[in-house]
Symmetry: C2
Subunit: 216 residues, 2 copies
Amino acid sequence: KQQVAVIGLGRFGTAVARELVKAGHEVLGIDHNLDVVQELSADLSHVVQADAIDQDTLQRLGIEDFDTVIVGITEVLETSILATLIAKRLGVPRVIAKARNELHGEILERVGADRVVYPERDTGMRLAHAWSSMDITDSLDVVEGYIISRVMVPEGLVGRRLDEALRADEGVSLLLLVRGAHVIVYPSGDEVLATEDVLVLAGQTEALERFFSGIR
Amino acid sequence: KQQVAVIGLGRFGTAVARELVKAGHEVLGIDHNLDVVQELSADLSHVVQADAIDQDTLQRLGIEDFDTVIVGITEVLETSILATLIAKRLGVPRVIAKARNELHGEILERVGADRVVYPERDTGMRLAHAWSSMDITDSLDVVEGYIISRVMVPEGLVGRRLDEALRADEGVSLLLLVRGAHVIVYPSGDEVLATEDVLVLAGQTEALERFFSGIR
Ligand SMILES: Nc1ncnc2c1ncn2[C@@H]1O[C@H](COP(=O)(O)OP(=O)(O)OP(=O)(O)O)[C@@H](O)[C@H]1O
Ligand SMILES: Nc1ncnc2c1ncn2[C@@H]1O[C@H](COP(=O)(O)OP(=O)(O)OP(=O)(O)O)[C@@H](O)[C@H]1O
């Protein structure tokens, strides 16, 4: 398990911090807003009220001993950029920073951020890539034009065998079949689809689109 | 292909609109900021300057004929909520709206949004779920604690056969092997891993974590 410091507990910072605690990592949250600090004091390993760009305070908190620092601040670019630079100068091996836009992202890379995330842009792109007549609940871009998508089993397929529902010639592969908490990898063709099943499919976006619209 | 209207061309709205045009859908962009409208006029099928909550204007633009309307506005909640309600009252089959936070999201659902997206929260959660010592470039949550992750092939595995690199007992499955633009589904055990290969792996988060930290 790792030690992670999250500087800036907005929507992004809070979501990362909470999920890392759930996964068993040790998380220190830092924010200059006392309400935020109090609200999260029960959820994170430690939460302190401090100024993200006060190098002395960050050193006193032992920031250099953390495996990763996440900077989740974008309203004031100077704060995000300085906090990232300070963390790298103190020797933190990995700094991940949220960017407001591409220009901000480029500055963060130049001052040493190991990874820059763009929540609004990436969520917009993911929504468009998983676009289809089916209700795709989530997707992963594999290469341009080829995606993995997670869908509830369409009503038109319930009760059918897999090898009937998904003929080999359609260019769509079923990677995983999820039944409750049980995940079946490479399901065999004689598996019969049931309501509530979740399918994880892979293929060219057009092939998936054709497959879904053919089920109607 | 579908007809989609995107109301509010911020980072999220612009990203969705651009990617949908790339995928061949017809996209109408609407924003009240003239600079934004001009900037995107070359990228989208149509872009107009209009007020998102002016029902007469939306009707004149023929909003009810669109398959989907996306509302990407969160600075002023009233605007997002009214635009969503107007689109549903005009009969748009699917409205997808960006929410600032959970309370905003609940109001959007109550006024008829078919789907609500939370870019900052979801990106934060995805980052934490794909957390590991390896550089996971993207991930998909299958069920709680089980993910699919896309990684560059680790240096320690280059030159090795798949069945050596990934022993069956580790609880990690290789779903796809990506070599340039070529995607190999269910790669066979005698495949030899090369630099630049991209692996799409599935497994319990702990099993993936163990697999990655064992490669060092
Ligand atoms: N100098 C600072 N020191 C510590 N915390 C700060 C500082 N500046 C901002 N913050 C905190 O960082 C958090 C996120 O800040 P900000 O609003 O800039 O980011 P955001 O990108 O809008 O966040 P979100 O993740 O909600 O989109 C807030 O909780 C804020 O109190
Ligand atoms: N009443 C309105 N009519 C039309 N467009 C509007 C209206 N209000 C805001 N917009 C536009 O919507 C876009 C996004 O607005 P806003 O800043 O509220 O969202 P945001 O959630 O901060 O965006 P993002 O995070 O995606 O960048 C802006 O380009 C803005 O000009």
